[in-house]
């Protein structure tokens, strides 16, 4: 494999990691916004408790993706920055408000006395919830825009049609899909980290979100075929089809496991589902970073820099992965089955 393809694969892996880890943090915010029923406050504090120690580390995967993009594929980063100027700014608005509101709520003076009930805490809680709903939709729309085909780069100049690429039907569908997936991930994880009636709450939410993702898939399939035939044929290609098939199988398995209350299995299957479907999309999209003008090979940066990225990967990951494992073992150990509570 050429260096640029390897770096592209690493970038895709980082996108998958961001989706699987940080996606659930966004999902937590979604269920915070839609907390309901007699255990509303317990739901919220469970979510805050689950996210607290890990959300900042999970967020770094996004920075990692951006850095890889502008280091290894500078023209692609430049083109996306111009074409997606507005949605990227909105994404940033969402990211900034979500992160700030989460800690501001946690440290609001009122929340210390009566958890979640203070005025300041309530206000920041609302901001946190709203930003958590909007941001994944926008991120999904931006992801869809690189496949939609209406983001053109001709002679190094970015051209967009009358409808901005992030508002193309395919992009809107990807946005909705991202929202449902984040909600599903979070609900499945939270069902694993709770017990009793609270677990039933999150199981019900997972079933709702799971149904929504299935319904959206059914809607998106004909759209893909009509609007993005290159992606459709890519997904059915020998390269991507096995990965996508595993993803679909895992999706069905996670739904079945949820129904049978086999929560550990449901979580493993959900992770496999999201990872395989996203990776399948990336493989189907290859060699394009932005269809149809920007390819991995065409946008590849200086060979020395690409080598630097690849050489530093083993030592970097050698530090990063054990640290991440330690973080999750300490805070999620009893839920991961690594350590008894």
């Amino acid at each position: 494999m050429s260096p640029e393809t390897l770096v592209a694969a690493v970038t895709l892996a980082a996108v998958v990691a961001y989706a699987v880890f940080a996606g659930a943090d966004f999902g937590g915010g979604i269920w915070d916004a839609f907390a309901a029923g007699p255990r509303r406050e317990e739901q919220r504090s469970t979510i805050a408790h689950a996210m607290g120690p890990v959300w900042e580390a999970n967020h770094v995967w996004l920075i990692f993706v951006i850095v890889l993009l502008f280091t290894a594929f500078p023209p692609a980063f430049a083109a996306l920055s111009v074409a997606l100027f507005l949605p990227f700014h909105l994404v940033l608005l969402g990211i900034i408000l979500r992160g700030a509101a989460f800690v501001f709520r946690a440290y609001s003076p009122e929340s210390a006395r009566s958890p979640g009930a203070g005025r300041g805490a309530l206000r920041w809680g609302a901001v946190f919830g709203a930003a958590s709903v909007i941001t994944p939709v926008l991120l999904g729309m931006c992801l869809g825009a690189v496949s939609a085909g209406s983001l053109r780069v001709v002679d190094g100049v970015v051209r967009v049609g009358d409808t901005p690429p992030w508002l193309a039907p395919l992009s809107l569908a990807t946005g909705a899909f991202a929202l449902a997936t984040c909600a599903y991930l979070a609900a499945v994880y939270l069902a694993n980290e709770t017990e009793g009636p609270l677990r039933e709450d999150f199981r019900a939410r997972a079933l709702w979100a799971g149904t929504a993702t299935v319904a959206l898939s059914v809607l998106v399939l004909p759209l893909l075929r009509a609007q993005a035939p290159h992606l459709w044929s890519g997904l059915l290609s020998a390269r991507a089809a096995p990965v996508v098939a595993v993803g679909v199988g895992a999706a069905l398995l996670s739904g079945w496991a949820l129904l049978r209350r086999r929560f550990r299995l449901a979580r493993a299957a959900t992770v496999a589902q999201v990872a395989c479907l996203l990776a399948g999309w990336g493989i189907a999209q290859y060699p394009y970073i932005i269809y149809p003008d920007v390819t991995v090979q065409g946008a590849a940066g200086h060979p020395g820099t690409l080598r630097f990225v690849l050489w530093t990967l083993p030592p970097g990951m050698g530090v990063l992965l054990p640290s991440l494992y330690y973080l999750f073992r300490v805070f999620k150990g009893e839920h991961l089955g690594v350590r008894e509570p």
Partner: protein, 442 residues
Amino acid sequence: MDTLTAARAQMEVSLAFHMVFAALGIGMPLLMVMAEGLWLRTGREHYRQLAKKWAKATALTFAVGAVSGTALSFELGLLWPRFMEFAGGIFGSAFALEGYAFFVEAIFLGLYLYGWERLSPRAHWLAGVAVATSGMLSGVLVVAANAWMQTPAGFRMVDGAAVDVSPFAPFLAPSWFQMSLHSTLSCYVATGFAVAGVYAVGMLRGRRDVYHRSALTLAMSLATVTALLQPLSGDLSAKNVAEHQPAKLAAMEAHFETARGVPLLVGGIPDEATGEVRWALRIPRMLSVLAYGDPDAEVRGLNDFPVDERPNVLITHLAFQVMVGCGFALIGLGLWYWWARRRGPGAEGRLLLAAVVAGSPLGFLALQAGWIVTEVGRQPWVVYGVMRTADGVTPVGEVPATLFGFSVLYLGLGVALAYLLRRLATGAPPGTAAGRGGLHVS
């Protein structure tokens, strides 16, 4: 407002905001680790309470720093896509390494903040050490990227394109060491004096308990040591600027005509039209000495550079005066404090405490002013001598709108955060201040 002005303004607003939290993110973990280390060694409870209080402040400021830093990584492209198309593939190596350092920082901060009960005291302290170390490293690595913009290296330009790009390009920039030393120290100076001010306020209000006094001692230790080192690192930086960015040095010193035996200007208002500086104090031959170590050395003036390659003299010179002035004022404050402390803790007078309060924002003022010197002094270049800022800007026309939006957003967040930190700093935790802690005084 044209796109270039708006893009520069949005970058300034975003960086000025982020920089405060980046500096606290480097300085606060060190204070935290110092306090917890003292607790491990002495077992005195108030040190643990201090570490916990500072951890809370770190939690608030780190989160804001992380998300505003994310915004910057996007804004590099959103505002300067042509610059990033050229430079991303060259100085990106620095960001790639910084990514790992920042990752480690975020991971161990999570362990530190939420791990008080779950980790052994030693493991918890070590998590703090990892945060402090990786935070400092991540700053040093980001500065490599900026140093490369100041003193580009590791590539050749052929027909307007970079060729023979070294994988280590940002680390070959000849100003990296000087800049990262100066900026890392400035983070500790700024954090140290800012924290000292908070506890000086408490002591002025009569809370002269062991909790407040220890906090003041720790913060002033860090602040004074680093403030004393700062002129030495500044001297290295100035010599480096003289060698590699002579136009910037000329603007910093408002030095208009190339000459030998050039005086150092202290203060003064430069007039770019006439090339004169009014109301400045002149120290004969000092600039020649400081820049080249020779009282007769020639120092290039702005007249040596084409008009369209000169930075804004007024802003660069004034910002430089503010930075140096704040720096020396803080050195004086630090020395005064330790002179007053020679008879042991608790000897600080009201006047000294009031001075510590008054001096507490000066470190951040110096930090911001120093950054203005670096960045405005580099203009009109975004990559010094290689690419002009105007050639790197986005073709998108909506920048004034996003500038307005981000300014409002950051203003709002700044106010909210100031309120929360103010609430956090309301005295010692119950049970440590006058109670148990007080026993140690007698």
